[in-house]
């Protein structure tokens, strides 16, 4: 693993983003929408990877941060006629606050207790969305397209229903989180996070307050997940409690593991592959989530490093 964002690393990251930019002119309509969706979900996976891959904390409840972003953005638009930008900010802010509050409590536990606590709290958030159904419309979900006005920037008008706008906003957000994670990992703070992952006790003995670093990582990770959630609400104009369910906490684990935990490029690749696998399977059978279970078990048994992890071991040791 290299330290700073060196030339090779920067070129790789910009190259991937460049490819994604060019892809929009080539892709047929169906895949065009899919890739936009994948980039938003990959943003979620990038956020998740900061906690799991670079801090060594596995969360089974990230859906609560994704849903906080989604509802934080969606509810003000629906009830208060907020514009897209302020609503987006409310969503991100809400997920940051939730992550901080949750971290203060949950980080008192470690190891498997932490895992169980993350899962429990995420489920409590999910149930709360269903319980306050009158406000959240949790079980049915609601659609934003009618209440969401287009954003005008100077003389340009951006309508969220335009596929090109969708695609490029998704790309912009993904690029932001992607580069942020690469920068973070190379920074001194990132080094400490990796040290916590490798040996928390030793890092503590070296004088670092590991609790604070874990909290920081959780807040960044939750915040990026919130960005993805808020973007999902705005771009695909649907908000529903199903995005807070346990499945949406499992997905980022799966995406990250498949792509390679602790690699900056892995989450995008894992998300893309799983998105299409699940998409194909759901066309064949109603029990399509079987794929999710089978891939998880196979990864753990035979391919624990994931795709980019294996690439790093075999061919490209400098991969961050």
């Amino acid at each position: 693993m290299s330290g700073r964002l060196t030339g090779k690393v920067l070129a790789l990251h910009l190259g991937i983003l460049g490819l994604l930019f060019i892809a929009q002119f080539v892709l047929p309509a169906y895949h065009h929408t899919n890739v936009a969706r994948i980039m938003v979900l990959a943003t979620y996976a990038v956020g998740y990877n900061i906690l799991l891959g670079y801090t060594g904390l596995m969360s089974l409840g990230h859906a609560m941060f994704f849903a906080a972003g989604m509802y934080g953005a969606g509810l003000p638009i629906y009830y208060l006629q907020f514009g897209a930008v302020p609503a987006f900010c409310v969503g991100v802010l809400l997920s940051l606050v939730l992550a901080a509050l949750f971290g203060l409590i949950a980080l008192r536990t470690s190891g498997v207790s932490f895992l169980i606590v993350t899962m429990m709290f995420a489920q409590a958030c999910y149930l709360a969305l269903l319980y306050f159904n009158k406000i959240t419309m949790g079980d049915q979900g609601f659609i934003l397209s009618k209440s969401l006005e287009s954003v005008s920037l100077g003389s340009f008008e951006f309508a969220f229903s335009d596929p090109a706008v969708k695609y490029n906003i998704a790309l912009l957000l993904f690029a932001g989180s992607f580069l942020l994670s690469a920068l973070l990992v190379g920074s001194p703070t990132g080094r400490v996070l990796i040290a916590v992952r490798e040996n928390e006790e030793r890092t503590g003995l070296l004088g670092y307050n590991t609790y604070k670093y874990k909290l920081l990582s959780l807040v960044i990770s939750g915040g990026i997940s919130g960005v993805a959630g808020a973007a999902y609400a705005l771009l695909f104009s649907y908000v529903g409690a199903s995005f807070a369910s346990i499945l949406y906490s499992i997905y980022p684990i799966l995406w990250t593991l498949l792509g390679g935990t602790g690699t900056t490029t892995g989450p995008m690749i894992g998300t893309g592959i799983m998105f299409y696998l699940v998409d194909i399977a759901s066309g064949l059978t109603s029990s399509y989530l079987f794929v999710v279970g089978a891939v998880l078990v196979m990864l753990i048994l035979w391919f624990p490093k994931g795709i980019m992890g294996a690439v790093r071991t075999r061919w490209l040791p400098w991969l961050p």
Binding site: I116, L127, I253, F290, G293
Partner: protein
């Protein structure tokens, strides 16, 4: 109904929930105590018990009682065999590494759940209670079968406690729990104890599933609620402490019953989670846990 009898009904419902919950959570806690792993697929073993009970009631002739009796034996045995297979095929190969095990059991959760969906469909399947009678209190009548569920669960809890404290397998399990390497040095076949502990944990959940089916109906998604309640229970009671698990099951079960009757079951789960937050702030290791675990 006035407040007094209403509360009595709530406590009664809560107690029945508590007994069943204690059984399920005990399985989870036992597996954690002996093997140091968390089994996310635990709720699916409960669901399998319920689905198998429904299958038995369809396949076995001779009335509801016969079907139920067969299910009570066959259900846990099949689930136990599946648990042994999962242990040998998956968990042993990843060397029971805690986080890999969690991911693997999440995978197992979806595999079991989706297979049941494929084989049994998405409908909720009702099962006729094997014994039907009503206990009449001055204010309301209460299903006698629910009281039997509580009684049988109580007996099984007692049986598990006896097995843990009096039998050789129980001794092996306790030795493995305390110090796995030392146990191995003294000739305890640790791997076989692991397989048995995993099977026993799964069977406790499956028995609970069989018992609950006449009250609750069998459905492929029914495993999630008991899993989360069991998590709440083991965190409050302290991971791996069997005594703590049973005590916490009663606290959670009864409060769940009361809040469910007076308000809503969903609110009850939210309240229980907040209870966990409070416990974590005051005692991170749980009420009966080893400090700092």
């Amino acid at each position: 109904m006035s407040f007094g009898p209403h509360l009595f009904l709530a406590l009664l419902e809560g107690t029945v929930t508590a007994f069943v919950l204690a059984l399920i959570a005990l399985g989870l806690s036992l597996v954690f105590g002996v093997m140091r792993i968390v089994n996310i697929a635990h709720g699916e073993f409960f669901m399998l018990g319920a689905v198998l009970a429904w299958s038995c009631s369809m396949l076995v002739g001779g009335g509801a009682f016969m079907g139920f009796a067969v299910a009570l034996v066959v259900g846990p045995l099949i689930v136990g065999a599946m648990a042994v297979a999962a242990d040998g095929l998956i968990l042993r190969r990843i060397n029971y590494q805690p986080e890999s095990t969690i991911v693997a059991t999440i995978g197992l959760l979806y595999i079991i759940q989706q297979l049941v969906l494929t084989l049994f469909g998405a409908d909720a399947r009702p099962v006729v209670p094997p014994i039907y009678f009503r206990v009449s209190f001055p204010w309301f009548g209460y299903s006698g079968y629910k009281l039997i569920v509580a009684g049988v669960s109580g007996l099984l809890l007692l049986g598990t406690w006896l097995a843990m404290s009096k039998t050789k397998l129980g001794l092996y399990m306790r030795a493995t729990q305390q110090d796995q390497e030392m146990a191995q040095a003294f000739g305890v076949p640790v791997r076989r104890v692991y397989a048995k502990a995993f099977a026993l944990g799964a069977m406790l959940a499956a028995v609970a599933g069989v018992l609950v089916v006449p009250i609750q109906q069998a459905h492929y998604l029914m495993g999630l609620d008991p899993l989360l309640l069991s998590f709440i229970v083991v965190i409050i009671g302290g991971l791996g402490s069997l005594k703590g698990t049973v005590v916490a099951a009663f606290v959670v079960g009864i409060s769940d019953g009361v809040v469910s009757v007076f308000f809503s079951p969903t609110l009850a789960k939210i309240v229980a989670t907040l209870l966990v937050a409070a416990v974590l702030v005051l005692r991170p290791g749980g009420l009966f846990g080893e400090e700092g675990s």
